[in-house]
Symmetry: C2
Subunit: 435 residues, 2 copies
């Protein structure tokens, strides 16, 4: 049964517990295994990939089978329904349209004395995209990760995903990859796939940046290789926080909470409401909707451990509690959602009003569904086109301009004890001492 | 003596060696120590900070002495020259002016059927800024890290820096901090300072994001705590790559290479030139300028291990080699620098023409001097106002708009096996099955 809490102090404590639910101890425990996998792939390349694919995914591959072939890619289109293809294409179009908004552009500005300053934006050369297998093999994940890379004009978008039974990969995932502009796909998953992308093997190219969600091994591998290559974020289990007033519909709120909980036994679903009656109705509705739920066991576990309803005295209090939690997804199921938005400081994505279930953003509204979890919204944002780009500062000084600042630079270099820094300006403005 | 290489294959190999000069083994070796420090600070707070400050910095502090007092901050202004204050203020103004360009702004767009999509930008609540002590205690580091945070409107900018002899902190650093808008300063350094910022102690507030350079222990601590809080990057030793043609002045080029080498025995200084005569002159000039260099021993070490001149057949080849290296600083000491810029794909900052020594950007041109090192320019950028901000996606659908996409979402949720995702849309558009 979904708990209802009425004391704010207790709500604060519980929200903190839920936010910190990813166990650091469990992570440390698995680190040795992941380090071993990374080292093996670094040293032995494809050979290690095939070894771990047999060990962890129970699939025996040859090196030639690592790469998904053109005929398999073509065949995927025959294996999904016309309706699913249409839906994937609609989602791809909308996601692409949103990501094309405000793509960073290179710029320069011209100052006094012919000084030129600016920023030049360029895409990474190669992006690696991890797509989980099994229960979490989602075409939407592919779209949300590959489309920003495509919009950023990344020349090579390399996808990895573990093979299922009979070495197969979900055809919907293969179709989504093609629609989203992925340039090559490899049949490998887990920490070994991250290692392959980070170091390169005979078959898989080394990339510059790795994005995409995964299990604890994948996340740990991403953390360990960070610095050799870039990563998007360290994704934890998913979460939704809903702020609702008496205008909210308990049936919708309950469905939205379950839509989060059904992802993962570690997923979190939280409701903060000013309305005690709504709280009780949502509690009953969650039970009712769970009754015949196809993923009941898993979903119930999430609701029991990381589900929560808290009664709050005002929407302002709800906003403050939400800011402390910094949710991945925040739904404002209230009469005037835009009035509360300005009080929200930290949230991955904000869904406003009663006709905006999180699912609309998960699939096709346009904004990215790869969002900061576990409180990371305090400092991080959705995956975006910027994730796949970087900029170089541009600086050009003229002799006149350099002359004007030479004295100040000289004083600063002396204060910092860096004589050649000073000389590099002095020689240009005053000539070489021997001259 | 600075080596000259004439074969391109050898140049490629050497550039790779230099780019990968940070030893992963050395890092692993120190990880146990850093983990222990992090754990101790997490458990014991201030007590652990005082313990490690005595052990590593030889300074015995009371908890009250951790925070730099108002009178010490005031006194710092009396301890530096008027000229240095002026120079710090000039640098602060120019850095701030540059960082005020193109600060991200929140936006919304209105689509068909009353769909609203957008992004809301907000600053982090608290930023932590690490400033090294001893030889590398630089006021410019303070400006370059604190000013973007100030421009981003971060409410609390918390600085940490280790105490020197007699518990003192470089007064120029204290002045720079005040000019740049730092809100509080604590006298603690090393991995223990990073732990304090990440977990909070009785005296030091927990922050959301930690920026700033440091030694190997600081960098390792940043990597380990990443995920609990955000970090800017994992800074390695500094580097410059200079592309020069026959128009370049060997005296300037040599001074610029030494200005990099004098930072650190691990710093790298590379010249790629089409002109054999220039190569020889630079080689001699480096010797000459090293002769009476106040930091000769350290600087010679860097030049010997990570200094290099390579003769290339064309500027295009130089650009390609530079892209493979992805330098932190790139100087184009060539007749037509803007013609080559478009061939540069990866570089932290690009300095164009003969009157733009790197030092002008290090101190006061405006762009940030905190730049990606060790090849990280392939995926990362300069520290910027964006580093201290994050965005929330905004999504609002109307009932009409939701109706139009309900079918497509339904098909996608079925393909992904997530029934409550489907229900959350179905209940809103078709009503509850029991109704």
């Amino acid at each position: 049964m979904l708990r209802i809490i009425t004391q704010q102090a207790e709500a604060t404590t519980e929200l903190r517990r839920i936010c910190d639910r990813t166990s650091q101890e469990e992570i440390l425990h698995k680190e040795a295994t992941v380090r071993e996998v990374l080292q093996a792939v670094k040293r032995q390349g494809d050979k290690a990939l095939l070894h771990y694919t047999e060990e962890f995914d129970n699939q025996i591959l040859t090196p030639e089978q690592l790469r998904v072939s053109g005929s398999e890619l073509d065949a995927a289109y025959q294996q999904i329904s016309k309706e699913l293809l249409d839906a994937i294409q609609l989602a791809a179009r909308q996601v692409e349209a949103f990501h094309r908004q405000r793509v960073p552009k290179s710029w320069v500005q011209f100052g006094d004395d012919d000084v030129v300053l600016g920023k030049r934006y360029t895409p990474v050369d190669r992006a690696g995209l991890y797509v989980p297998g099994g229960r979490a093999s989602y075409p939407s994940t592919v779209l949300m990760n590959a489309i920003p890379a495509k919009v950023a004009k990344v020349p090579r978008i390399v996808m990895v995903t573990p093979p299922g039974p009979h070495k197969k990969i979900n055809p919907a995932v293969l179709v989504a990859a093609q629609e989203a502009g992925v340039t090559e796909i490899y049949r490998v998953g887990g920490a070994q796939a991250i290692a392959a992308l980070a170091y390169g093997t005979e078959t898989i190219p080394k990339v510059n940046l790795i994005t995409g969600p995964g299990n604890i091994y994948v996340t740990l591998a991403k953390k360990l290789i960070y610095g050799s290559v870039g990563i998007d974020s360290l994704a934890g289990p998913s979460e939704v926080l809903i702020i609702a007033d008496s205008s909210a519909n308990p049936v919708y709120v309950a469905a939205d909470m379950l839509a989060q909980a059904e992802h993962d036994p570690m997923a979190a679903a939280i409701l903060l409401t000013t309305d005690t009656q709504l709280a009780k109705k949502v509690q009953l509705e969650v039970e009712r909707q769970l009754h015949n739920h196809p993923r009941r066991l898993l979903t119930e576990k999430a609701i029991a451990h990381y589900g929560l309803i808290a009664i709050v005295d005002s929407l302002e209090t709800a906003a403050e509690l939400s800011n402390e939690f910094a949710p991945e997804h925040l739904e404002l199921e209230i009469a005037e959602p835009w009035d509360l938005v300005e009080k929200i400081r930290h949230a991955g994505a904000i869904f406003l009003g009663t006709s905006t279930p999180e699912a609309v953003g998960d699939y096709l509204a346009g904004p990215n569904h790869t969002l900061p979890t576990s409180g990371a919204a305090r400092y991080a944002s959705a995956l975006s086109v910027e994730t796949f780009m970087k900029h170089s500062s541009l600086i050009q000084y003229s002799h006149t301009a350099l002359n004007k600042v030479a004295g100040a630079i000289q004083i600063l270099t002396e204060a910092e004890g860096l004589p050649s820094h000073g000389d590099s300006v002095l020689f240009r403005t005053q000539g070489y001492p021997d001259d």
